[in-house]
C-alpha cells in the first residue's frame, strides 16, 4: 500500500486498510526504541512543531520523542507565551510558523475541528493530537497496536470502553478504529455521560459496569475529567467511583481473564483503584511504550507523503 495523506485528523476518514498499514509500519519502528542508539536518520533535516493550545504532557512528550528518534528537529510552541493571547487567529499562527519552513504540525486544541481548519490552510503535514471531544487518532492507533500485539488480531475481540463517553475524544477515535477493524465494542457509563444515538456508530450500550465487564477481552477505562462534576453530569466523585470505578471487588466477582487499558493520566481512586491498575494483566504502560512507535510511524508517513 502507498500512503498518500499529508494529514492525520481522525480515524473516521481512514479506510480499514490505511489503519492496518499504519499499525504494520509502527511494528517496524518499535524495534528502534530498544536499541542502544535509539535514533534513525529518516527525518533528518525535517522540522516538527508541537502546537499545543491545551495543556498536555504525555502526548507532547511522546510526539517529541518519536520525532527525535527519527532525527527530526522539534519545536514546542507554548500557548501561554504565544501571540494567540494577543489575539492572533490559529490560522495566522500556523501560517506564520509555516513561513519559517517547517514540515509538520502536531496540534492539540480544545475546539473540535481546529486541526482540520489548519490542515486546509497550510501545506505542511498536520497531525491531530486531540481536538475537543472529536478525535485523538494517535491514541486510538496505539490502543489498536497494543491489542493487536497481545491478541495477534483485532477482528472478533471484545472491548468495553467505560466512563465519560460523552466528552471523550479517545472513546470516539477508538470506536471508529475498533469497529472498522472488526472488534465488538461496548460503551458503558452513567446515562448522562453516554451520548444519545451512539449505537449508530456500531456499538452496544450498557449502563451497568458489571454487565459491561462480564464477557469481554478488554476493559478500557477512560479518565474521568473531574471538572465535569461541576456541570452536574453526576452527583459526586464518590458515587461515580462506587458504580463505575474499577476496584478489586468488581474485579474478583467477574472471575474472568481480561486485559485492562487506560489512556492516562489515571485518577487513582476514581475510575481505577491502584490494586487494579497494577495487576499483571494491565496494559497501561505497554500502551505508553507503543505510543512512541505509532507516532514515529505517523510522522514518517505524513511527512514522507510530501514531495
Amino acid at each position: 500500500m502507498k500512503w498518500e495523506r499529508k494529514d492525520l485528523i481522525g480515524l473516521e476518514e481512514l479506510k480499514k486498510e490505511e489503519i492496518e498499514f499504519i499499525l504494520e509500519v509502527a511494528n517496524s519502528f518499535k524495534e528502534v526504541s530498544t536499541r542502544t542508539v535509539k535514533k534513525v536518520p529518516a527525518l533528518r533535516g525535517k522540522t516538527v512543531v508541537n502546537l499545543f493550545f491545551e495543556p498536555s504532557t504525555r502526548t507532547k512528550t511522546s510526539f517529541e520523542l518519536a520525532a527525535k528518534r527519527l532525527s527530526a528537529d522539534v519545536l514546542s510552541f507554548e500557548v501561554s507565551t504565544s501571540s494567540v493571547s494577543k489575539g492572533e487567529t490559529i490560522i495566522d499562527t500556523a501560517k506564520n510558523i509555516e513561513a519559517m519552513k517547517v514540515d509538520c504540525f502536531i496540534i492539540r486544541h480544545s475546539i473540535a475541528g481546529a486541526p482540520y481548519l489548519i490542515s486546509k490552510a497550510v501545506n505542511s503535514a498536520v497531525i491531530n493530537a486531540g481536538d475537543g471531544s472529536h478525535e485523538h487518532p494517535t491514541q486510538a492507533l496505539l490502543d489498536l497496536f497494543t491489542v493487536k500485539e497481545k491478541f495477534g488480531k483485532i477482528a472478533g475481540i471484545k472491548i468495553s470502553i467505560i466512563g465519560d463517553i460523552l466528552h471523550s475524544r479517545v472513546a470516539r477515535s477508538n470506536i471508529w478504529g475498533f469497529t472498522k477493524l472488526g472488534a465488538k465494542v461496548t460503551v458503558c457509563g452513567p446515562p448522562s455521560l453516554i451520548p444519545s444515538g451512539i449505537e449508530k456508530m456500531g456499538v452496544n450500550v450498557s449502563y451497568k459496569f458489571e454487565e459491561a465487564i462480564r464477557n469481554t477481552d478488554i476493559v478500557y477505562l477512560l479518565r474521568l475529567q473531574k471538572e465535569r462534576q461541576k456541570e452536574n453530569f453526576f452527583s459526586s466523585l464518590k458515587e461515580y467511583s462506587l458504580f463505575y470505578g474499577f476496584d478489586s471487588d468488581k474485579y474478583i466477582k467477574t472471575g474472568k481473564k481480561f486485559f485492562i487499558m487506560h489512556p492516562g493520566p489515571m485518577n487513582r481512586g476514581v475510575e481505577i483503584r491502584s490494586e487494579v491498575a497494577e495487576r499483571e494483566n494491565s496494559l497501561i504502560l505497554e500502551q505508553v511504550t507503543n505510543g512512541i512507535a505509532v507516532r514515529m510511524a505517523v510522522l514518517y508517513l505524513t511527512i514522507g507523503s510530501k514531495k
Partner: protein
Amino acid sequence: MILNRLLRNWGNMMKKIVNSEEMKKIIDLLAKEVKVKIGLENLVIIGIKRRGAILAERIKNKLKKDIPLGSLDITLYRDDFSKVGANPIVSETDILFDIDEKNILLVDDVLYTGRTIRAALDALIDFGRPSLIKLLVLIDRGDREFPIMADFVGKTIKIKKNQMVEVKVKELDGKDEVIIIDR
C-alpha cells in the same frame, strides 16, 4: 513471422545468467571463501532485507555453525528520502545480538551504486562498534557511485545502465535464478 519477431524481442528483453543449480554452486564457493579468509571465530552474518537476508541465511547454513544471524532494513537510512517523496516501505530490523568487537559479514544480492551499502554501514554503526565489516554480494554489476567494493563476489557482470539485474529466490519468487532485464 510476427510471432518470431516477438519471441526474438522477448529474448532480448530478458536473459537468464544464473540458474538454480549455478546459484547453489556460487553460494557453496562463497561460503568456503568466507571460512578461509575471515574464519568462523567471532563471526556474525547480517543480511540486507529482503533478498540479502535470505542469501545470508543460506551462507550461514553452509557454514554449519551456530553463527548469529541478523537482518537489516536500510529504509530509514536511505539518502533519497526527500527525493523519492512516496514512502518506501519500512520493515523490521532484526539484530538480536551484540555486534561490538565482532566480525560482521554483510550480505546483499546485488552491488550497484553502493548507496545501499553506505546506508547499511551507517545503520550498523548505530548498533555498536564491530571489529570489521566485510561485504558479500551475489552479483556485482559495476557502475559504482560511491567508493565501495565487495570482499566476496559470486559473479561479476558488465551491463548497460538501462539494464536491470534481478536476483530471484525460492522463498519470495518461487525459484532461484538471476536474470537481466532491458528497461
